[in-house]
Amino acid sequence: MSVGLIFLVVLVLAAAGYFVGRARALSLSAQSGRKLHSLPSYYGQTVALFIAVPAFFVLIAWLFIQPIVIDSRVNGMVPDSVIPDGGARSLVISDVRRIANGLDAVLSRDAIDESALTDGSIDFSSIRGRLADVGVALVGDVPTEVFEAAKAYRQGAKFGNMMMTVAVLLVAIAFGAWSYTWIRPDMRARNISETFIKALLIASSTVAILTTAGIVGSLVFETINFFKMYPASDFFFSTVWNPQFRGGSDLGIWPLLWGTLYISLIALLVAVPIGLMIAIYLAEYASKAVRSVAKPMIEVLAGIPTIVYGLFALITVGPFLRDYFAQPMGLGSSSSSVLTAGLVMGIMIIPFVSSLSDDIINAVPQSLRDGSYGLGATQSETIKKVILPAALPGVVGAILLAASRAIGETMIVVLGAGAAAKLDLNPFEAMTTVTVKIVSQLTGDTEFASPETLVAFALGLTLFVITLGLNVVALYIVRKYREQYE
């Protein structure tokens, strides 16, 4: 049975369990004349939860563990001799997987019986051609060992799936039946399903936390690998970024970090004042009609794909800045520049600042405005002295959110600022950022063995630490402000 089908069957069982459990609770209470501890539906819910939750748990665990087991078995069947020179074992193993999956299609298309695979009644020497016919293209001929491994893989997967179906359904039925017989009128079904729901919610948040930990863990792991091959002091203190795929690269982070900070700074210089003023206008001055039109129109800016902004930077803003500013001022003749990317990125994050700040300003209680107007303050005095200070923590949060957007942005930088890693103060010079270099170090190479590729993880980790730092600073500011005023 496929996973989806198993899932559906368990859901149906759970639904059935709900009604059966509910009915049993009702009839038991009627027989014994004792009042049910909880509403009847809670007894049904208890049975349903006992059917579904452990079964899904087994299903998920199985889906994780089965590939690991099968891979390790198949791995043992592939001798080193079939691995091509300079190739990787992992590539052969992935061939095994593809052949195994392709065999199903071959069998059904040629109407071959399952047993033919094992008893040798059909000649599989032409297996490569047959597989190509069903859309599985292989580079070379398939060695016998690989073919055998593929068959074993297929067998293993089949058997595993069957066992999984049986195990999941058994668990569902066993737990269901047990909880069903457990029902008594005085059973605290309401508390049981409460506990279950709580456990589910905790499990969900655990998933999120574990995922974060996993991401950080893998970043840290690969970064450590990188620093084994490349000295950390060079990475952190060198001002040259010059990767060579033949080795002997200079991988100093400073030019990239500088580009990132420079572009983000320009973006914020554009977005924060404009965004804040938009927010103040929308929240304090605009009439309902204007607001209902203007706010969605500004928010459209946030929905434009960044690649479109990138094109705008490339064909409009870049040449404009070059022709009217950079060249007349003698500051350069490159159409990709920090300023181009910064300006366009700033426009992109305006709605982040304006929309969030607008909500925050609106949340400032009307009574504070009344108090200020009642003392004879004008509207702008009220905004400057009462509303903005009261909204400050939220506004800082909005700005930092916009900042992390800017730091993580890639597409606009590639098209607007180019890909040259440079340490320069001239805003009309082409530069690049950390994210762009992460992409360019990783494209075209899937083997993470050289410092030139592994540096991407070190860059990623650095970026992560910076964004984390930003958030911590934001929290600190917000908290300090709160202490002062609440």
């Binding site: 209680p365 504070l368 108090g371 009642g374 003392l375 004879g376 303050a377 009261a390 005023y485 609440e486």
Partner: protein
Amino acid sequence: MNMSGMTTAITPTPKVAAMNETKVSARDVQVYYGDKHAIRDVNIEIRSRTVTAFIGPSGCGKSTFLRCINRMNDTIASCRVEGNISIDSENIYDPKVDPVQLRAKVGMVFQKPNPFPKSIFENVAYGPRIHGLAAKKSDLDDIVASALQKAGLWNEVKDRLDSPGTGLSGGQQQRLCIARAVAVSPEVILMDEPCSALDPIATAKVEELIHELRENFTIVIVTHSMQQAARVSQRTAMFHLGNLVEENDTDKMFTNPDDQRTQDYIMGRFG
């Protein structure tokens, strides 16, 4: 209504004679919220250095009329005021009058204490600062101290002027708001149910304060409590369904009102 005639009749001593002058005078005031006619034909004379209480059932328009006196209704888009209200014989709805300036002259204290999220000092200094009342820092310190003294809060907060105003108790916050209003030296102070969010002890303090403020300010207070109106006010005005039903001396109002509706309301027969 002929107020002036009545006033002379009931002012025995020369000391109280200053109370006779009319401070605020309203003529045929109508207020609309969109199509809703919230205040109808209100005529009233509010006397200088007197506490005038507005009473009446909920929704009868007390707050609405109160907010006409410092043009706070201007901040509500749907609200429209017709008729004539003058303070010291100057029509405040004249196009030449700047509502912002007017509000410095007519202070307001709200139902819920609404201190700004700033320090106690900054709360009181807010008004003097925006109106440029203090040339030097020391002047500002004096204004703040005297406002807090007038509001009866000085002894409680003089050692912690820098701590946040929102950290005070509800009653202290309300007195802080009164100090904030007093600091700009208004001539009239409007109070919209200033004690409705306070406990009896805090209420007593605020009432005592109102009593003292009467020496220097003209006070209009909206209240739902008959006892409070009787305790703090010299004049009482009764509103009902947007109309001013009766305006009279507080003593007379609570013992022998002219209007049957006032009688019914005071006896608790509606409202």
